[in-house]
């Protein structure tokens, strides 16, 4: 750690990991509800568990992104953070607002929460992933603006690198597109259309900029490859992300009342969306092969390579699988979508946050470069446990999805939804099993932070 103010990142990373554990616990509850329908009913119905699962994911990833920015921006800008105090204040504001929102989901019926928080004044609740009370959404905007102000001014007074620039564009885009969550027209078609301006333009747009810039930072630090080369890759990757991803939004407009020409625009451009992810994989492996140092923090390198591969598989391959309109006609809104969503989020966004945490946390905790060998081994085991179990979760959900599509949509004698759900139960059981392995991997990951011992040191590559 070169700058004192980078230490605020530690708070953000700890909160991120804590909320991650909560997310997975609720994931397991939902997974069980898929096969034991009355599990925890009516205390925690499925929709509540799902809100907690998805909202915790979003919140902890945002904590991770902000932590990443607070860590890497002072280092890149070669100056102290504009206001560490503001960063700490906003941390507590965000954490308390997040915790109250989750408690609200769990403790009162959702309609009561809507009433308590005055949803009728500016109705924004009850839409997928945007379930937060309007007041929480306003809080998110305030936190995001203070954060952008803080990191923006840090960059302005310091060195401007491509990495900070791309990260700032990504984070600014995140804040701007979130504003669409306040637009909730009565017309369902318009509501759905603009809902994607938050959801798609986040995860298939500006978040990719955030991911690519964090990845570039970790690779510069762990491989010692010349910045010029890495920055060129970064530009071309994010160029492809936006060139394909902006019009790629159209693959969500096939069946929600938008005009037919979106079938073409959406299919063609979203079919190209795997390209930036493929380039990220080539980029990460190339840089590690050309490394000028053997960085002793092996898990950080592993997460960096892992995120590139898994993002390509989850977002790229599993996304392509059902993105063409004639295929999507049958797969839209089935377990195929769920399979894709799980691996894409894990590969692209969970793993990139874990990569920067893995790189930065030892330094934030006052170590020279990395954790002890024993701690690293545990962390790498957790990498494989989580990653492989996520592959299986994805495969089982894909199996469930293919059967669902056939039985409910494709066969000559289509069956009702609930009948089909019973028939594909075995896949849900296996998914739950893989989910338990994921939780074990995650607990091992948390435990790895508590393993002490002597650290390794940086060695020049001979």
């Amino acid at each position: 750690m070169k700058y004192e103010s980078q230490s605020v990142a530690k708070l953000y990373f700890i909160a991120a990991i804590g909320l991650f554990v909560g997310q997975i616990v609720f994931g397991l509850i939902m997974g069980l509800q898929y096969v034991m329908g009355d599990f925890m009913f009516p205390e925690i119905p499925f929709n509540v568990a799902r809100m907690v699962h998805t909202n915790l994911l979003i919140v902890w990833l945002l904590f991770g992104f902000m932590g990443a920015a607070y860590y890497l921006i002072p280092e890149e800008a070669e100056t102290e953070l504009h206001s560490p105090a503001l960063a700490k204040l906003m941390f507590w504001v965000f954490l308390v607002a997040g915790a109250l929102t989750i408690l609200g989901y769990l403790l009162v019926p959702y309609s009561t929460l809507a009433e308590m928080t005055g949803n009728h004044l500016l109705p924004t609740m009850g839409r997928e992933f945007l379930e937060q009370p309007t007041i929480t959404k306003i809080g998110i905007v305030i936190v995001a603006l203070s954060f952008l102000y803080n990191v923006g001014f840090t960059v302005l007074k310091g060195r401007k690198t491509v990495i900070t620039l791309v990260l700032l564009i990504g984070l600014a885009g995140l804040a701007i597109f979130f504003l669409f969550s306040f637009y909730n027209p009565d017309n369902l078609v318009k509501d759905k259309f603009y809902w994607w301006f938050v959801v798609h333009l986040w995860v298939e747009g500006v978040w990719e900029l955030i991911m690519a810039s964090i990845l570039a930072f970790v690779l510069i630090k762990t491989t010692g490859v010349d910045r010029e080369i890495i920055e060129k890759w970064l530009y071309i990757i994010i160029a492809m992300a936006l060139i394909t991803g902006l019009i790629g939004t159209g693959h969500h407009f096939f069946w929600i009342g938008a005009p037919e020409y979106w079938l073409w625009w959406g299919s063609i451009f979203s079919a190209l969306e795997p390209i930036p992810f493929f380039m990220m994989t080539v980029f990460a492996f190339n840089m590690v092969n050309k490394r000028r140092i053997n960085h002793p923090n092996q898990p950080a390198v592993l997460w960096a390579l892992g995120t590139a591969v898994m993002a390509f598989l989850g977002a790229g391959v599993w996304g392509f699988m059902h993105t063409l309109a004639p295929v999507n006609y049958f797969t839209h809104g089935t377990q195929i979508t769920a399979a894709h969503g799980h691996m894409a989020f894990y590969g692209a966004y969970v793993m990139i946050v874990l990569a920067i945490i893995s790189y930065a946390m030892p330094l934030l905790r006052g170590r020279k470069a990395c954790n002890s060998a024993a701690s690293q081994v545990a962390e790498m085991w957790s990498f494989w446990l989580m990653t492989i179990s996520m592959v299986f979760i994805t495969l089982f959900l894909t199996g469930a999805g293919i059967l669902q599509v056939y039985l409910q949509r494709f066969s000559d004698d289509p069956m009702p939804f609930m009948v089909v759900q019973d028939k594909i139960e075995i896949f849900y059981w296996m998914r739950e099993g893989a989910g338990i392995v994921f939780l074990i991997g995650l607990l091992l990951y948390v435990y790895s932070f508590f393993i002490g011992g002597e650290e390794r040191t940086v060695e020049e590559k001979v």
Binding site: G37, N47, Y110, I243, F253, F254, I256, R409
Partner: protein, 144 residues
């Protein structure tokens, strides 16, 4: 990558490409607005339907169901439930009303929301309105 392809070229592709395709997205969005009146069933968007949409939202129906394929995949698609229930709002209302408070042992069950008659009618009308949106013939069949 070779020296022929420089960093500034990559940067220009990023800025040029992003701006161009963002403007294209805006243009297509504008065109979509122009096309909507033919497709979005707005002529049936009554105050009752608006109220139904609000109830749909504040009870987080999308947390279990999908609507036009979007939402959760825990419970049936409702974009065409009106047709699936024999073009009957009464059947939709009867189903919502009939849900047992304590659920069904071992099975998924929709919660009992204790809606009054006016609310039930609003929700049913909202689902009826939704089923009239032109969705390019989706879903593939009545099962949703």
């Amino acid at each position: 990558m070779s020296e022929v392809f420089t960093k500034s070229m990559a940067r220009n592709i990023f800025y040029g490409g992003s701006v161009f395709f963002f403007l294209l997205l805006l243009a297509l969005t504008y065109q979509t607005h122009e096309a909507w009146p033919e497709r979005d069933n707005h002529e049936n968007l009554t105050d009752e339907v608006r109220h139904g949409k609000e109830l749909w939202e504040v009870n987080n129906c999308v947390g279990c169901h999908s609507l036009l394929g979007e939402g959760a995949y825990f419970a049936p698609e409702l974009g065409n439930v009106y047709q699936r229930y024999g073009n009957s709002t009464e059947a939709i209302k009867a189903f919502i009303q009939s849900r047992p408070k304590e659920g069904i042992p071992g099975r998924r069950s929709m919660p009992q929301f204790n809606f009054d008659d006016e609310e039930l009618e609003a929700i049913a009308q909202f689902l009826k309105y939704t089923s009239g949106i032109n969705t390019n013939d989706w879903p593939p069949n009545i099962q949703g």
